[in-house]
Structures are given as C-alpha cells and as structure tokens.
Amino acid sequence: MNDLLIIMKQELLLTLIIFVLLTLKIAKDMDNGAFLNLVNLLLAINFVVGFLGGMEGMLFNEMYHTNSLIILEKNILNLGTLIISLQSWSWLKDHKHVAEFYILLLCTLLGMFFMISAGNLLMFYLGLELSTIPLAAIANFDLAKRKSSEAAMKLIISSAFSSGLLLFGISLVYGSTGTLGFAGIAASYSADPMQLFAFVLLLAGFGFKISAVPFHLWTADVYEGAPVAVTSYLSVISKGAILFVLVPVLYTVFKPIAESWYNMLYLLSVVTIIVGNLFAIRQENFKRFLAFSSIAQVGFILVGITGSSSAGSSAVVYFVLIYIFSNLAAFGVVSFVSATTGREGISDYKGFYKTNPVLSWVLAIGLFSLAGVPPTAGFFGKFFLLLAGAGKGNYILLTIAALNMIISLYYYLRIVKAIFMDSNDHPIEKLSVPVFPKLALYLCMAGIVFTGFVRYVYDYIQSLSIGF
C-alpha cells in the first residue's frame, strides 16, 4: 500500500489537486484572481513534487508501470501545463468557468499520465480517452464564438473516429495474441497479415492523435477555433504525451515487427514533414500556421523515432522538452495578444516590433528555436533527432529532413520579417504583460537558451533511456 502511494505519487497528487479545485468550486465562490493564484501555486507544487523521491515499479498485474524515464516525462508534461496555465492568465481572469476549465484540463493530464504508465492496451486506451474527451469540452470554452464550438465538434468526432480505429486494432491484437498486456503481446507477436493489419490500425489511431499526415485534416481547424490556451495544450502536451507512449510501444511491444513498422514510419515521417511544411507556407492565421508547423515538427520527431531505440527515445524526450519551451514561447505571445486584442492574423503582427519590442524578441526567439536555428535549444533538439534518425545509415531521410528545415526556415522568417521589418497602419498597440504570463515567457526563454548547451539535460535523459 505504501509502495502504491509512492509509485503513483504523480497521479495521486494530481487527483488530489483536481479534488481540491472541485471542492472549492462547490464550497464557495472565489473570485477569479485568487483562484488563478491558487491554481498556479498548486501546479507549481505539483511540478516540484514530481521530482522528489519517485520509485520505479509495476502495479495491478502489470496494468500500470513506471520508471525513471516515465517519471521524467510526466514532469515535463507538468512543466508544460504549468507554463500554459500561467500564460492563459489574461484569458481566464475574466472567464466565467475557470474552475471547470482547470478541472477538465487536469483530468486530461491525469489521463495522459495513466496512458504513459500503461502496461496494458486497455489501460492505455482508458488513459487516452480520459485525455481526449475533456479536451473537446475545453476546446469549446470560447463560449461566444461559433468557431470554438466547431473546433470542439471536430475534435470529438475525429478523436472518436481514431479511437474506433484504435479499438479495432486492439481487438485484433487481442484476438490474435489472446492478451492485452504489453509483455504478453511482445512475446507472441509476429509479422503475419492479421497482426500487421492490427498494427496498421493502431498506428493510424496514433497518427490521428499526433496529427501525422494523412491523418492531420482535423488539426488546423481545431487549432484555429479552440482558445489559444487549448491550442497550445493540444499541440504541445497532448502530442508530447502520445509520442512518449509511441516510442516504447514501438520498441518494446512491436519489436518483433520492427522491419515493417520502420518502413511505415519512414513513409509517414517524410509525408508529414513535407505536407506540414508546404501547407504552413500559405497560412494567414497565426494559429493555423502554428498548427501546420507543429505537423511538420511531428514529422521531424518521427524521423528521430526511426533510429535506434535508446537514441530515438532520448532524442524524442529531449525534443519534446525543447518543443514545449519554443512552441509555448510563440504561443504565449500569440495567446496574450489574442486575449487582449483579439487579433490573430499574421498580417496583424506587421510592425509588432515598433510597439512591443520585448514580446517581438520572445516571439522571434521562439520561432527561431522552432526552426532549429543554432544556438537556440531547438537546434539541439533537431540535431539529436537527425542524429538518431541517421543511426541506421539512412542519409536520404536525413537529407529530406534537412531540406525541409530550409523550407521551414522560410516561413518562420516570413513572420520574423513581418514583425521586425514591415510597417503597418494599425499595429497592435503597446501591451503591458501581467506578471504570470511574463513569468511563463521568462521560463520559456530560459529553457530555450539553456536546455541546448547545458549538457546535463541531454545526458540525464540519455542515462535514463539507455535501458530499453
């Protein structure tokens, strides 16, 4: 019983926080400012406690397992959630349903924790559902906007569809192996057509969730319609969580058919990078733009996954960490501008530097990091992904990825140019950033600057992931 408390520390703490919030909501009407202070404090505590005294282990007949890498992954997700929460302060401070927002948000985080820790396809599926259904509800939180409802509708339908595929795949896996436990599947899997078919279905389900091409069609619409906080949560945290699961699932559960999935993943990554990039060039709305750029980023992550297991998994974890910082730096500015002025078009950002130099720099550095320009952390993230991807000697994939980095550079620069160079008759007025969003942006900047060449971060991640 004591072991259980320590092993499931992160989940239990999160559940506790959810209950505290729910009780507060029921017991008394707090004003938004005090409530937000409390939530952010709780999330910060949650993040810090995540690092203290974890324990590896298995629970519930291997339904649930955890190890140091998984603990770290959960901490990364905690950090991202904290940053997003800080950033959405200016959007939430006048919102009617703050408590509900946080309860639903943290429920999805809880779902992701269980998903990452799953040792069984059923547990994985439960975690996945818990992490998507509340998301659809909070995608609708811009209550006055029709687009927000549309986004929620599209999200719920597409995730229901992908869950259907996933479930079909799981049922076929169960039918052919007689077990749902990861260890059992790994022991009895082989490349016979039935099982390959099951795997393809599973991969398609995964593809939907990480919005890999050709399963990406919902992404841009949902990202555009949903409130920015939810968009950044979708693009960073929920994607990151699924990728955290995908790596061990591929390398441990489906190890017997590694040759087959290598080819599928290869194809998937090439198509994803190219399509994501080419569509990003033409976007005029900032959120749609970031949607496509995040699709391209997923393509890069898939390149990293095609490498060897330990290099691939550490590169993915490292990249997701950096991706959180860089994407949230960009989203943070967009979120703040959108919450205060309601403007989201890329052309609205023309001349942004004249009125808001500091925010412009934050946005520019975030975009540079997304583009993988050294010496930002984004470069190191991409570098390790490419290095992992090249581990199998596949330089064609590497070259395609590098060429796409150039394309992506073009469109990121286009925005930087709009911010710094272009003039605008009606620039976004001068904004003063409140303390919480400011804190979040500082966190992101520190992350972008230091995660890259402070060697301990990568070394630490690698020391954890060498095991499997």
């Binding site: 050294p374 010496p375 570098f383 330089y395 590098a402 980095m405 150039i406 160079m421 990568y458």
Partner: protein
C-alpha cells in the same frame, strides 16, 4: 584556458552591452574588450603563457561523445590573431559612425567575434558547427537592423544561402560522426576508411557549405549585395574575417579529412575558382559603387586562395595561409577608406567623387599603400602570399592544368590593378567638384587605424618569416595527408 577566455571575453562583454545605455560607454567597453582579447592572444602567442594553457578539453554532450575541445595550432593562431587584431581596428576606425541603439550594435559585434574565435579554435565537429552559426546569427541582426535600404531582402538571401550551406555541412558532419564510430573529434575524423562514394558524398556536403561562405563562384550571389547593404563595420567583419571561415574550413575540415576526394575533385573546384576570379574582376571594373567594387575584388582574391588549395603544393598552401591574414588586413584598410568617404560625403558613387588628394593628402598616401598591397606590389604583404600561391599552383603535382590556372590568375591580378588604380585616380585625383571641395582630411582614429594596417602590410612584406613558420607544420601535415609533397 586561453581559448576559453578568448571566447568568454567578447561573449560576456557582448551580452552585457545590451544593458548599457550610453552610446559612448558602450563603444568604449566594446573597444576595451576587443583590445583585451588582442592582448591575451598576443600573450599566448609570444610564449608568455604556458603552452599547456593553449588547449582546452572538457566533455560537453557526453551522450553523443561531443567535447569542448579547443586548441590553438599554427593556423588557428594566425586566424585568431587576425580576428583579435581586426576587431579593435574595426571598432576604432568607425568610431564616429552613428547607430541607433549603439549598445546593441556593439554587443552583437562582440558576440560575432566570440563565434569567429570559436570556429577557428574548435577541434570538435559539433562545437565547430555551433560556433559557425553563432558567428553568423549576430550578423543577420546587424545587417537587417542597421543595413541600407534593401537590407531586408538582402539579409534573407544571405540567411537562406548560409543556412542551406550549414545544413549540408551538418549532414556531412553527421555522416562523419557515424563513420568515425560515434565521435565528433577532429582527430578521429582523420584516417577514416571510406569508400570513394562515401568520401565524395561527405566532400560535397562540406564543400558546398564552405563554398557559399567564401564565396566561390557560382555560390557568390549573396555576397556583393550583403557587403553593399550591411553597415560598413559589419562588411569589414564579413570580408576581413568571415570569408576566411570558408577557407579555414577547407584547410581544417575538408582537405585533411577527405583528401582523396579533394584530390579527385580539385580540378573542378580550381576551375570554378578561376572562372570566379575572372568573372569578379570583370564585374569589378564596371562598378560605380565603391562597396560593390571592393566586394567583387574580394571574390577575386579569395578565388586565388581556393585555387591554391585545390591545386595544392607546399608553397601554395603556405601562400594561402599567409594570404588569409594579408587579405584580412588589406581589405580592412580598403573598407576603412570606403567608410570614411561614405561618412563624409554620404555617397559611395565613384562618379560623384574626385580630387580628394588635394583635400586629404594623408588619407591618399595611406590608401595608395593599401591599394598597392591589394594588387600585390612587391614589398607589400600580398605580394608574398600571391607569389607563393602562383608558384605553388604552377608547381603543383596534383593538377595538369597548373600553367593554365596561373596564366588566368595572372590576368586577374592585372585586372585588379586596373580597377583599383582607376578607382584611386577617379576618386582622389582630378578636379574637385561641389561635393568634394569642402572635404577635410581624416580624423585621428582613422589615421591611426590605417597606419597600423600600413605598418603591418610593409612589415609582413619585408619580413614574412614569423607568419610563415607559424603555419608550416599545418601545411605540411595537410599535404602529407593528400600524399603530396
């Protein structure tokens, strides 16, 4: 510790300058920092500092076996000396230029110095790549913020060109990493067993990056635009030092690592270099803009170094080495003069100027010496370098076309005499016009800067031995790896 200090001084000062508000203070701090690194460099070279302190080796990214490995061998010393010498001159000679947010300007200048020094000292491929980019990025900002009218298009062109090059280089380095069994160390890259196909692949990846940087025809189109549109202080960095990054890359990261591909493809690149030299010289003759003229002449001069490297012999490589330094200070002198003219008259058009010699005799004398060095008159430094390179190309056993290359290159020397002297004649002699009749002679800071350069030119011109002996070991080593003597 010396390499780390050399990088840290400009890096920390550069970052700190962003917080300084007063213009004069920022400038003085920048000058002081650059002088400090020069002093450190000189102390290191004179043997005053223990030789063991000249290298630095610490683990960096343990997981992929990348190290903080800096060392100062002869070639590095030469180029670091050039860098640390150029920066004080650049800052001091443009002392009277005005910039908005000058603290940021000088901060970025110093950051780029840190990057350049890192490039010249790194002995780890990832570290090399990292500093390569670190040197470039401040320049993008400098050019796009303080440049001329078309600065934005030009910066984007510059950025995309160099970034493409960098990415190719990155792929090449990753290929080498796996070939070397998971190591980024320069010493592990030497003597790798590779098939000729692999070697060619790596060679092309790296060569494109360096060719864009130098620049080699036909990858040069970003260069005249960027030189023209950048503020002159930045152009000085670009042409005096940054262009040497490419040449340095050839000598450190290309020729010794993939010697047989370099040997096989030498003629192709040598031919490109010759075409580029002729092409740039002819275009330079037609230029009316002083900056573009110097920019094209720079392409021609760099082309000769490339030629000497791809048609190698001991004398040629040594010539290229010393010429990297010479070209650095000579072109710096030219830019200082261009800057003075631009600041004084607000124009760079040759056709609008004239008769400056009557008004500014000191400037004229100093310029003439620099210009003579630029066209390789005997007794100037460039003569030594170019003579050695001609000698080397002619005597190279690596190519059958040594004679043809030499003749073509000699033509460009003549052409360079033509356009340089004609520029001097038009700008400094003849009648004064409305614009130039009110001119005065140069201020003390320009005088001093030019005087230092002129002293350098003549000193190296008559007594080149110290510089030559500095790099002799490295040159012999490169040739040894290519099986040439």
């Amino acid at each position: 510790m010396v390499p780390v200090l050399l990088i840290l001084i400009p890096l920390i000062t550069g970052a700190a300058l962003f917080a300084v508000k007063q213009e004069a203070t920022a400038k003085s701090i920048a000058l002081l920092a650059s002088l400090l690194s020069l002093a450190l460099m000189l102390a290191g070279m004179s043997g005053y500092i223990d030789a063991a302190q000249m290298t630095y080796d610490q683990p960096w990214l343990g997981g992929i076996n990348s190290r903080f490995h800096f060392a100062l061998d002869g070639m590095s010393q030469l180029l670091c000396l050039l860098t640390t010498l150029s920066f004080p001159i650049i800052i001091y000679s443009t002392w009277n230029n005005r910039y908005d947010d000058s603290n940021r300007f000088f901060g970025l200048v110093l950051l780029s110095q840190a990057g350049l020094l890192g490039v010249f000292m790194a002995l780890d491929a990832l570290l090399f790549y990292f500093f390569w980019e670190l040197a470039l990025i401040p320049l993008y900002f400098l050019c796009s913020r303080w440049g001329g009218e078309r600065r934005i298009q030009v910066t984007i062109k510059f950025f995309i060109y160099t970034f493409i090059g960098s990415l190719f280089m990155l792929i090449g380095l990753i290929m080498l990493y796996f070939k070397a069994g998971g190591s980024f160390a320069w010493s592990d890259f030497l003597n790798l067993k590779m098939t000729s196909g692999q070697e060619l692949g790596i060679f092309l990846m790296l060569a494109i990056a360096f060719a864009i940087k130098m620049p080699l025809f036909p990858f040069h189109t970003w260069q005249p635009d960027t030189y023209e549109q950048s503020p002159t202080a930045v152009t000085m960095i670009l042409s005096a030092i940054m262009a040497k990054m490419g040449v340095f890359g050839l000598l450190r990261w290309l020729a010794p690592i993939v010697p047989s591909a370099t040997f096989l493809w030498g003629d192709n690149f040598a031919t490109l270099a010759v075409i580029g030299m002729l092409y740039a010289s002819f275009i330079a003759m037609r230029q009316d803009d002083l900056k573009r003229l110097v920019a094209y002449s720079s392409i021609a001069h760099i082309g000769l170094m490339i030629l000497a490297i791809f048609a190698p012999s001991y004398s040629g490589i040594q010539g290229a080495m010393i010429q990297m330094f010479n070209h650095g200070i000579n072109i710096l002198g030219m830019w200082i003069v261009v800057n003075v003219i631009e600041q004084k008259f607000g124009t760079r058009k040759i056709s609008e100027l004239g008769g400056l010699a009557q008004k500014a005799p000191v400037l004229t004398i100093l310029l003439v010496i620099v210009a003579l060095a630029n066209i390789a008159m005997p007794l100037t430094n460039a003569f030594i370098g170019e003579f050695m390179m001609f000698n080397g190309v002619l005597g190279s056993t690596a190519t059958k076309f040594g004679l043809a290359y030499t003749i073509a290159a000699l033509v460009t020397i003549i052409l360079s005499a033509v356009y340089t002297l004609r520029m001097i004649q038009r700008v400094f002699y003849g009648e004064t016009n409305e614009l130039t009749s009110k001119a005065t002679d140069i201020s003390f800071n320009v005088k001093l800067s030019l005087a230092i350069i002129v002293v350098g030119i003549i000193l190296i011109g008559v007594f080149p031995k110290p510089l030559l002996s500095l790099t002799s070991e490295v040159s012999a080593d490169i040739l040894g790896r290519m099986n040439l003597k």
